[in-house]
């Protein structure tokens, strides 16, 4: 182990001196190749999209009207949130994909090779962030389009139809487009959050566990604590609850934040995680 570390220290200046091989384009190419050639990446990409659509469809199928009626005032249902509910599960797979991208290297020792090839550690992290964001956006686009389609097919049959006064998600109207596009961005930000956290803890299992705990913790706590003021504050700072405000198309006035503010909160979490991960990456040995 000591020898290996010493080896890295020795080779760093040599590689740096060669120049032209440690820029962002090369790092991007390297990260893209590493992630693309892992079978797990493709499986996770498919799983993220498939599970999101499946859960969205299942939640849409489970919708029931009240005995008193199906009108929006009686059900309180937001077709967009229901159609896109699968993101609750899809984000876990996306977090796993992103966590693996950096944590997996620590598991196999590959990180030493990576850092030998790209001695500028922040360049390496930035390259990983770009590539992982790309994967998450791809998974998100497929997942969200599938979910929106499932919702449009299923919800009218469950009573949430245009005739009853609901506006189904559509990429053609403003709030619907915001919910769909926002959900894709949400998944990308979750990937960046997981990447930053995993870079900080250097273990994909611990990183993914930490991210999932962070995501699911706030909504469970805020839905149960009796103090409504405290619950609202929690919903404003929680990465998942605030971030998913972007899916809201009805009852915007009662939201603790506006949709874009909510996504901004998640972006702040992701940025903080990346800064922390980058800082620790620079300060510590690999």
């Amino acid at each position: 182990m000591m020898q290996a570390v010493a080896g890295v220290e020795r080779t760093r200046p040599v590689l740096a001196a060669r120049g032209g091989r440690t820029g962002l384009p090369d790092a991007l190419h390297a990260e893209w190749t590493k992630l693309r050639t892992l079978a797990a990446t493709w499986w996770l990409l498919a799983a993220a999209a498939a599970l999101t659509v499946a859960v969205s469809a299942a939640v849409s199928l489970a919708v029931q009207c009240r005995l008193s009626g199906c009108a929006p005032a009686q059900t309180g249902a937001d077709p967009a949130r229901i159609s896109l509910a699968g993101v609750d599960l899809g984000q876990a797979v996306v977090a796993l994909l992103a966590g693996n991208a950096v944590g997996g290297e620590y598991g196999t020792g590959m990180i030493r090779v990576t850092l030998a090839a790209t001695p500028r550690r922040l360049t390496m992290l930035a390259a990983k962030a770009v590539v992982v964001t790309g994967w998450a956006l791809a998974a998100g686009i497929v997942a969200v389009l599938g979910s929106v389609l499932a919702g449009r097919l299923i919800l009218p049959g469950r009573g949430l139809s245009a005739a009853n006064g609901y506006v189904l998600v559509s990429l053609g109207n403003g709030p619907g487009l915001r919910a769909a596009l926002g959900s894709v961005l949400y998944l990308a930000l979750i990937a960046l959050l997981a990447l930053g956290v995993t870079a900080a803890v250097r273990d994909s299992a611990a990183g993914v566990g930490l991210v999932l705990g962070l995501l699911y913790l706030f909504p469970i706590v805020s839905s149960v604590i009796p103090d409504h003021v405290l619950a609202r504050h929690l919903e404003q700072i929680a990465p998942m609850t605030a971030g998913l405000d972007i899916q809201a198309t009805t009852g915007l006035r009662s939201l603790p934040l506006t949709p874009w503010q909510g996504l901004g909160v998640l972006a702040a979490w992701a940025a903080a995680a990346l800064v922390l991960g980058g800082l620790l990456l620079r300060l510590r040995d690999a």
Binding site: Q64, A77, L89, G107, G213, I220, V224, D227
Partner: protein
């Protein structure tokens, strides 16, 4: 052709017994600092999040003072009447009564039960009423120890949607003749007192009687109050906001019963309210010949625990246990790594060389991680419940009472839930051989269904199914308060109610863990390490 003899290390004899393996696995576990820290994190978050909820309450106090029952003491204690078992009860009904001394029998015939329920907007200050019956509107005959709220009783009644019933001491009840009462379908009811034993009978014609139940009310005094009663619980309209919990709104209802052929009581009648009427003006009786018309509101029933109902302001054991799922995530990380780290470091080859019987090595790992997780879950729940109770009392808040035996089951149950969850994570880790994948699978299997149900992302019916069939069913071990069929309420996971009985829910989770462990043992044998 030579016979292949399986290779056995010379030291194997006497060195791969289960005791040695357990010692080896325990040494591995305790000597990895990250895992020990992970276990401590599990205990801290499991206990800490619940205590945050118990200590972070600031606003409920005012709500109790303004809309709840009268407070007493310096704190915010709602004064629920307590039933004979110490449970908070509703005991509020219109009572047409007279004293009954010694043994006796009361017989009546109920010929109709009608009522009024709110109509239109339930949230307006004075909703208008329309004819209708609340499901648990009830009227009949009752023998009650005295006029204090919460005193022991036994009653025979017709309930609007549940036929004839005998109910006693708030929590208990047993059905009699089915079907709704009406002029063409009268119901005869009879209560007989003999010492401490009260027996209920019903009949459709007044000649053929059937016993519904016999109950003992210990220490019943010689003179009790007996007579006719009518009650109708508040109407509750449940509405669920997707992603935002469950809301209830309601209003008072009333029930009117026509009762004749009253026999067994000869003295003068007194009509009065026990407790306070749900709305002023409901509650009267009218006697014409042998025919009584009794109108009342309220209920004679236990109060279910949980936020959003009548006991909204009361702190519950469920609040303290809120952090369990977060602790389970930390446990899942440690338990999965307990196996996957061996693959990553190639330690698995050493482990399997030392213990060529692979199933036994897996069993030793499962026992060690299960035992450690049991201790962690037990400690987390014990700290959460005991410290939470102390904080609640110190701050002067009201804690919904819970029997000591239930607290013991909840604490031990949390330990068991932690143990089987960890074994599940270990088994999934063995199958997946990748820590992060195992953690994601276990979190998606245990924590996500719980989240979907508690945060009301899915409707109640779907949430119940999630908590029946997924490994999250084991959270039922944490249910502190019983669910009462005779009280309409929102029995949701966020209020601490689960669709399966505690040990049935645990059996589901344990079944998942056992299946995963069997799969892991099979794969471990078949695959090269």
């Amino acid at each position: 052709m030579s016979v292949m003899t399986p290779y056995r290390p010379a030291v194997a004899a006497g060195r791969d017994g289960l005791a040695q393996l357990l010692r080896a696995e325990w040494t591995k576990f305790r000597s990895v600092r990250g895992w020990v820290i992970g276990m401590i994190v599990a205990v801290v978050v499991a206990a800490g999040i619940g205590l945050l909820g118990a200590g972070g309450t600031t606003s409920s106090c005012q709500q109790v003072g303004s809309s709840g029952p009268a407070r007493h003491g310096a704190g915010c204690m709602p004064a629920f009447p307590l039933g004979p078992g110490g449970e908070p009860v509703t005991d509020s009904f219109y009572f047409v009564r007279q004293p009954l001394t010694g043994d006796g029998t009361i017989t009546v015939r109920v010929t109709s039960l009608t009522g009024l329920v709110p109509s239109g907007n339930l949230n307006s200050p004075s909703p208008s009423m329309q004819p209708g019956l609340e499901e648990w509107a009830k009227a009949g005959i009752i023998i009650k120890e005295n006029l204090n709220q919460g005193s022991p009783y036994a009653a025979m009644m017709v309930a609007a949607g549940h036929g004839v019933r005998m109910q006693w001491n708030y929590t208990a009840g047993t059905p009699g003749l089915p079907g709704a009462v009406g002029p063409a379908n009268p119901r005869w009811l009879r209560l007989t007192r003999a010492g401490d034993v009260i027996t209920g009978y019903d009949s459709a014609d007044g000649t053929h009687w059937a016993e519904v139940g016999a109950v003992t009310l210990p220490g019943l005094p010689s003179t009790v109050q007996a007579g006719l009663f009518a009650a109708s619980p508040e109407y509750n309209s449940e509405s669920q906001h997707f992603g935002g919990g469950v809301n209830g709104s309601g209003g008072p209802t009333q029930a009117t019963a026509v009762i004749d052929h009253v026999s067994g009581l000869g003295g003068p009648w007194t009509g009065e309210y026990i407790g306070v009427a749900d709305a002023p003006g409901i509650g009267r009786y009218h006697q014409a010949g042998g025919r009584f018309t009794v109108t009342g509101s309220g209920d004679i029933a236990p109060i279910p625990a949980g936020h959003g109902g009548p006991a909204d302001a009361a702190t519950t054991v469920t609040d303290y246990l809120l952090g369990t799922f977060a602790g389970l995530i930390a446990l899942a990380v440690v338990a999965a790594l307990f196996m996957t780290a061996e693959y990553r470091r190639n330690l698995i080859r050493v482990t399997l060389a030392a213990s060529p019987r692979r199933g036994r090595a897996l069993a030793a790992k499962a026992i060690v991680i299960g035992a450690v997780s049991f201790a962690a879950g037990l400690a987390g729940a014990a700290i959460a419940v005991l410290a939470g109770t102390a904080i609640t009392h110190a701050r002067g808040y009201y804690e919904f009472p819970v029997p000591g035996s239930t607290v013991v089951r909840v604490i031990i149950g949390t330990g068991l839930l932690a143990a089987v969850s960890a074994v599940l994570a270990l088994a999934v880790g063995t199958m997946a051989r990748r820590g992060a994948a195992a953690v994601t699978i276990v979190v998606a299997a245990i924590v996500l269904p719980y989240f979907l149900a508690v945060a009301a992302v899915v409707p109640l019916g779907a949430a119940d199914w999630l908590l029946r069939i997924t490994p999250a069913a084991g959270f039922a071990l944490q249910q502190p308060y019983p669910q009462y069929p005779q009280v309409t309420a929102i029995y949701s996971a966020s209020s601490g109610y689960f669709p399966l009985a505690p040990w049935a829910g645990f059996a589901v989770t344990a079944g998942w863990a056992a299946a995963a462990l069997a799969g892991a043992a099979c794969l471990l044998r078949r695959r090269d390490a």
